[in-house]
Every structure is written in structure tokens, then in C-alpha cells.
């Protein structure tokens, strides 16, 4: 059984987080007002609970559920098993899954903020970079 690793992530914008997960191929994300249990790769109920859940079938054949638990201050704690920490790096060919997720979420948050302010926003991907242009 692969233990879960808890990593506090700093952002509060759940829409940006879900959009970033979608960017990385996770289109099916359960959203729960009250946290629910995660399941391990053998279908075993784990002690960890989360408000945002990607079920293991959407992650990988030998994976556990991935979760994001909402903290009292509105930030989220990522719950990713030790196995999946390595698996996701390999799957996404990136140095660190959470780092990329946070960068993508930050990009979405910036875009949302600019749009709410009535600015014109263009976003494009160049290789491993996101380019956001905000103009009046």
C-alpha cells in the first residue's frame, strides 16, 4: 500500500485548480462540499478525505485516488500517494506534477482576474511555457 503524501498548496481559487487539472487531462473531478474518503488502487477505503477527487480509474491502472482537501483558510492540501507522485511525473513528462499544476492554476487565476477587470486576454502555449497577454 502506497502512503499518501500531503502537500499544502497555496491557492484558493478552486475554478483555477479544476481548470488546471482539466488542462492536464483530468476532465472528471468530483467536487464535494464535505470531504469524502479516497480509495486505494485495490479499492480499499483510505483514511484520507478530500473535497476534490480524481478517481484512480482516471489516473492510471495501478494508481490511487488523487484528492485535494480544503483547509480552514480556503487553501488546499494535495493528497497524492507516493506511488502516484512518481507515476505522474513520468506520465506527464514533467519534473514535478504539483509544480506544473500550480503553474497552470496560477495562469488561469491571472486570466480570470484580468477578464473580471474587463481586459482583453490572449493565452497561448509555446513548448513548455504559457504566454498570457493582457491589454486594455
Amino acid at each position: 500500500m502506497s502512503a499518501y503524501v500531503e502537500t499544502e498548496i497555496q491557492f484558493k481559487d478552486v475554478e483555477a485548480l479544476v481548470a488546471a487539472l482539466s488542462d492536464m487531462g483530468y476532465k472528471t473531478v468530483e467536487r464535494h462540499a464535505e470531504p469524502v474518503n479516497l480509495y486505494g488502487y485495490r479499492g480499499d477505503v483510505r483514511d484520507q478525505k478530500a473535497n476534490l477527487v480524481i478517481r484512480k480509474k482516471y489516473v492510471g491502472n495501478a494508481s490511487n485516488d488523487i484528492g485535494f482537501l480544503k483547509n480552514a483558510d480556503g487553501t488546499y492540501t494535495a493528497l497524492i500517494s507516493e506511488y502516484d507522485g512518481g507515476f505522474l511525473k513520468s506520465k506527464h513528462k514533467c519534473p514535478d506534477f504539483l509544480s506544473e499544476l500550480k503553474a497552470r492554476a496560477g495562469a488561469h487565476a491571472a486570466v480570470y482576474a484580468a477578464q473580471r477587470m474587463g481586459r482583453k486576454v490572449q493565452t497561448k502555449i509555446e513548448g513548455r511555457k504559457i504566454i498570457i497577454t493582457v491589454s486594455r
Binding site: 519534473p95 503553474a103 484580468a114 477587470m117
Partner: protein
Amino acid sequence: MTQQIKIEIDLDTGEAKLEADGYADQSCAIDMGPLNKALGIVKKHVSKKGKDQNVLRQQRT
């Protein structure tokens, strides 16, 4: 007043580089706080108007 900003985010390093009207202005790591950093960039460089600042304060809560 700044007319255009360009934010370049490196997905491998988490580094965000900024250009304001074509001038490189700052480089900051967004790894630890992408939301606040990203909003901070927009807040600082997109508008200096009080109204817009209020919108940003609401979004940051």
C-alpha cells in the same frame, strides 16, 4: 499607465516572467503562491485605478 502586460510562465520551473509594455519588469517564482503572485502581477501592472484595486481585493479573499 501600462497598456499591455505579458506573463510568461514556465511549466517546468514555475517561474513567471513579466513584461510591461515591452519592458522586462520583474521575475518571480509563482511556485509557492501562484494565485497571489498572479493576481499581484495583474494588480500591479494592469490597472492603477481604485475601482480595479477593489475588485482585486475581493478576489483575493
